[in-house]
């Protein structure tokens, strides 16, 4: 029976380490793996991949998973997933075997030398106290999330970290850990491993005891200095009642009473005590741990199945933004039209403006600059009405020279430029002056470019120059 039970346990253990189908778990692992790399050295940008992903999947978490899976395949890192898993399984297997061997010696030690009678209560305490206490602590920690993590689990984690830390599998390993942490499964994994290893220990002791009882002669006794007999009868019967479910004969009250402080040599009594020991270890030690394994495995499976990648984290948002950026938005807007064609201006044949040879006009200004306010001119052209008025006046009396003052800080737009051209066509000669702003942007360069495009002469940059031109004509 023990050997068969051991085999069943191992199969159960291996099955428990694959709680759900490989593919979803693999994709989640890929996501963590790629996230680790990208958070370290920036996002990978594969525009074609992003487009394919967005085309085939509309949900954000599906897009993230697919992208991660494809990137992992691109980097030939697929195998690292199974490599790490296999290493984990073999490490657990090795630890299990080691603790099994340890359990053998613990079991034998609990029984002691066959020349001395076995103190049943003391042996039981020695074997079951630590496993039971740790199991109780673990159950408590399920209820209260504290720092009490299972020791064997932590041992395994640090061993694997040390071992894999310096190899190329370091990222793959940390991806596993991070995934477990995200699914809130890390404590459960560590607990599962702990339970498995404790099972190994207990199984080892059981096997040792079974072998010892089969091949050696033991007598059993319970000892006390100051406790009454009844206490022991109650205790032993109570514990025996649990094991009675296994169908093995247990020591009866008279056997228990008679075994106090002296060992009985009756083969029936000895066999019953042996059954009692084996049964107690099984029912109090092993079975709870097996149940705990099943519980852990069940919870793990549920958590992994229910897990969805959080899409509001900054990393996920950055990746989704990248995917969306690469996907063309369906928008029906035609290509931009041809640039404006500016036809050649025919300058006017001039006379004078109210007996003045020159005129100054402000264009899109709030007011003429101080130095220009005393000069002849219709003022400022800013709205449709003033434009109409001024053009009419200039039509009637085209001057020799026209200076158009514009704001150097404004962006030269099509409207202003077309008005500037219209005004220029009303004089024999026309030039522009860029009035600089006291504070704010300066767009003189843009003005020069645009004025060149619309075939107007380059503007003056100093008002002294402009004044000289106005008064003297040539520059």
């Amino acid at each position: 029976m023990p050997a068969g039970a051991a085999f069943d346990c191992k199969v159960l253990i291996l099955r428990c380490q694959k709680p759900i189908g490989v593919k979803p778990l693999f994709k989640h692992w890929c996501y963590q793996f790629i996230a680790l790399k990208e958070l370290r050295s920036g996002l990978f940008h594969d525009a074609a991949l992003n487009r394919v992903v967005a085309q085939h999947h509309s949900e954000p978490h599906a897009q993230l998973l697919e992208r991660a899976r494809a990137l992992t395949a691109q980097q030939n890192a697929d195998s690292q997933f199974t490599e790490v898993r296999r290493m984990l399984q073999s490490t657990v297997g090795v630890l299990w075997a080691i603790t099994g061997l340890l359990g053998l010696s613990v079991g034998l030690a609990a029984l002691g030398s066959p020349s001395q009678p076995v103190n049943v209560i003391w042996s039981l305490l020695g074997l079951l106290l630590v496993p039971t206490v740790t199991l109780v602590f673990w159950l408590l920690s399920l209820a209260l999330p504290t720092s009490g993590l299972p020791w064997f689990g932590k041992l395994l984690q640090s061993v694997m970290t040390k071992w894999l830390g310096k190899t190329r599998l370091v990222d793959a390993w940390h991806a596993w850990i991070e995934l477990a942490r995200q699914v809130r499964a890390l404590p459960l994994w560590l607990a599962l491993v702990s339970h498995v290893i404790w099972c190994g220990l207990l199984l080892g002791s059981l096997l040792a005891m079974a072998a010892a009882f089969s091949l050696r002669h033991y007598t059993f006794v319970w000892e006390t200095t100051w406790l009454p007999v009844d206490v022991f009868v109650q205790m032993a019967s109570g514990i025996g009642s649990l094991s009675a479910w296994l169908g093995l004969p247990m020591p009866i009250a008279s056997d228990i009473a008679a075994s106090g402080n002296q060992a009985l040599d009756d083969p029936q009594v000895r066999m019953r005590w042996a059954n009692w020991l084996i049964g107690s270890i099984l029912m109090i030690g092993l079975v709870p741990r097996l149940v705990a394994i099943l519980v852990c495995a069940g919870l793990l499976g549920r958590r992994y199945r229910a897990y969805r990648i959080p899409t509001e984290t900054s990393y996920a948002s950055a990746v989704l933004a990248q995917i969306r950026h690469d996907c063309p938005v369906d928008l029906h807007d035609g290509a931009p039209g041809a640039q404006d064609q500016w036809i050649d201006l025919q300058p006017a044949t001039g006379s004078t403006w109210h007996d003045q040879p020159f005129v100054v006009v402000g264009l899109d200004l709030t007011a003429l600059p101080e130095w220009a306010q005393t000069l002849p001119g219709p003022g400022v052209v800013d709205d449709r009405h003033s434009r109409h008025e001024v053009l009419q006046q200039l039509n009637a009396m085209p001057p020799q020279r026209l200076l158009v003052i514009v704001d150097a800080g404004q962006t030269p737009d099509r409207g202003t430029l077309s008005v500037a051209r219209e005004l220029s066509a009303k004089a024999v000669q026309a030039r522009l002056y860029l009035q600089p702003r006291v504070t704010g942007p300066d767009r003189s360069e843009q003005w020069r470019l645009k004025l060149n495009e619309v075939q107007l002469k380059p503007p003056f940059s100093a008002h002294a120059q402009a004044l000289q031109w106005l008064h003297e004509g040539a520059v």
Binding site: E312, V329, D382, G409, R414, G440
Partner: protein, 464 residues
């Protein structure tokens, strides 16, 4: 695109920052083209907003309006053919006329987009005076009969004068407006835009409020993630421990190597922060402050860096090559090592094999342990906090240098409190992810969380 998509057109005079506004709102540095010139955007481009994985709102970036005066003339001179034409009819007629479409090509695209949108954001450069041509633009928008939300852009720039604009808008019945600056946007600028839009488009108020909430959450999440990154860096640096023979040259080399590792770790943190906020290293240039092309200029371990953040070297601190590394002398028996062993045994059940192993070996060999000093940890913390704050306030449309305030945090930053937070990390050298075989345990996560919370408090005390 789904039929329920809310469409918002972003219009305005040319070169007022419409594309920049969209870059800032969408955190996309590469949206459209931005240049300080007229006619940069030449066709309509869309950017989508997502909520719970669905497209819910589309921003339409339009070419600028350049010749509204002439267009208004055209519209007003339309022959009425015996019927009264109201504003919307005139616009319709304009859009149907191919010749007009050719003459006013850009304006035609914009008006076409407006008539297909649910609302309009009208972007104004408040550095410009209120000229009649802008009034003509608003007149045209009015004709299209869509709710208009004026956005007063460049509000934080020199020369900005919003008052005349606010008055002009009020005279046209536009009393709700948005103050914005695409270079340094308000910290919850997106949420502000959505909420104000919700006031205007009451039929979509619920959706816009959800978008605002989502933007706020995303911003808070970015801050939390940023603080966790910085906390992780600090824990890594605090926990880092190297061993070296006491020989002077070997020691100096070991110190130098450790310093290199810490510098690289800092750079990784910086890159991760930039990724978080969707910026790139090449986005920024230095501006006389020790930051350029995504790297700090001033060496982390120099006394200049310490001075920059107001940290003073303690008495007896070594200068030169050993600055920034605290060197312990370890001998067998009663030293820091033993003290922490006892503390560790009392405090935690299982330390991890690494610490016991190398500690013991080093002690036997009579080696010295090298760690990063407290001052350097403070410098690290302050520099990264400065960067985080600058990134939070930085708009994606900004094209100028990133100005980092020379720490206003130093006065309120309690250096001793930070060192106390990191005390646990000092005791666990296996927590340092600078070494690849680090132990990513629950305890480490808790300490990182604790440091992040402390940093968050420090940031908030500074900003309030």
């Amino acid at each position: 695109m789904s039929a329920a998509l809310v469409k918002v057109a972003i219009v305005g005079h040319t070169n007022t920052g419409k594309t920049s506004l969209l870059r800032t709102l969408t955190h996309d540095r590469q949206f459209g083209e931005v240049a300080d010139a007229a006619g940069t955007t030449r066709h309509v481009e869309a950017a989508l907003c997502w909520l719970d994985g669905e497209q819910v709102l589309a921003w339409y970036d339009t070419p600028g309006l350049e010749d509204s005066m002439a267009l208004r003339d055209w519209l007003e001179s339309l022959p009425t053919t015996g019927q009264r034409l109201d504003g919307a009819d005139r616009i319709e007629q304009f859009l149907r006329d191919p010749r007009a479409g050719q003459r006013f090509e850009q304006e035609s695209r914009v008006l076409q987009q407006i008539t297909q949108s649910d609302a309009v954001l009208y972007v104004i450069d408040v550095r410009e005076p209120v000229l009649p041509k802008y009034r003509d633009e608003l007149y045209l928008l009015n004709l299209c009969a869509r709710p208009v939300l004026p956005v007063l852009n460049f509000i934080a720039s020199s020369g900005a004068d919003p008052q005349p604009w606010i008055q002009a808008l009020a005279r046209l019945g536009l009393h709700i407006h948005l103050r914005f600056d695409t270079v340094s946007p308000p910290i919850d600028g997106e949420a502000l835009v959505f909420r104000t839009l919700g006031q205007l488009l009451s039929s979509q108020a619920v959706l816009l409020e959800s978008l605002a909430q989502s933007a706020l959450q995303a911003r808070q999440q970015r801050r939390v993630d940023g603080l966790m990154l910085i906390a992780g860096l600090l824990v890594d640096a605090a926990a880092l421990q190297d061993y070296s023979d006491p020989d002077a040259t070997v020691l100096a080399q070991a110190v130098h190597q450790q310093q290199q590792c810490v510098r690289m770790a800092e750079q990784r943190c910086v890159d991760a922060l930039l990724l978080l906020f969707q910026f790139g290293r090449d986005d920024y240039l230095s501006a006389g402050l020790p930051w350029s092309a995504g790297r700090w200029h001033v060496d982390l371990f120099s006394s200049q860096a310490l001075r920059d953040v107001g940290v003073h070297l303690g008495k007896g601190a070594a200068a030169g090559a050993l600055a920034g590394a605290a060197v312990d002398v370890m001998s067998a028996g009663l030293t820091l090592g033993t003290g922490t062993l006892i503390g560790a045994a009392a405090g935690t059940a299982w330390q991890g094999l690494g610490r016991w192993g190398t500690d013991l070996v080093a002690r036997i060999k009579g080696q010295r342990s090298i760690r990063v000093s407290d001052e350097v940890l403070v410098v690290l913390a302050l520099r990264q906090l400065q960067l985080l704050e600058a990134l939070e306030h930085r708009g994606h449309a900004a094209q100028g240098p990133l100005q980092l305030e020379p720490s206003a945090t130093k006065t309120t930053f309690s250096q001793t409190a930070l060192i106390k937070c990191l005390a646990a990390a000092r005791q666990h050298e296996q927590w340092s992810s600078i070494k690849s075989d680090y132990d990513d345990s629950q305890a480490r996560q808790r300490v990182v969380l604790g440091v992040a919370e402390w940093l968050s408090d420090a940031m908030q005390h500074k900003t309030t």
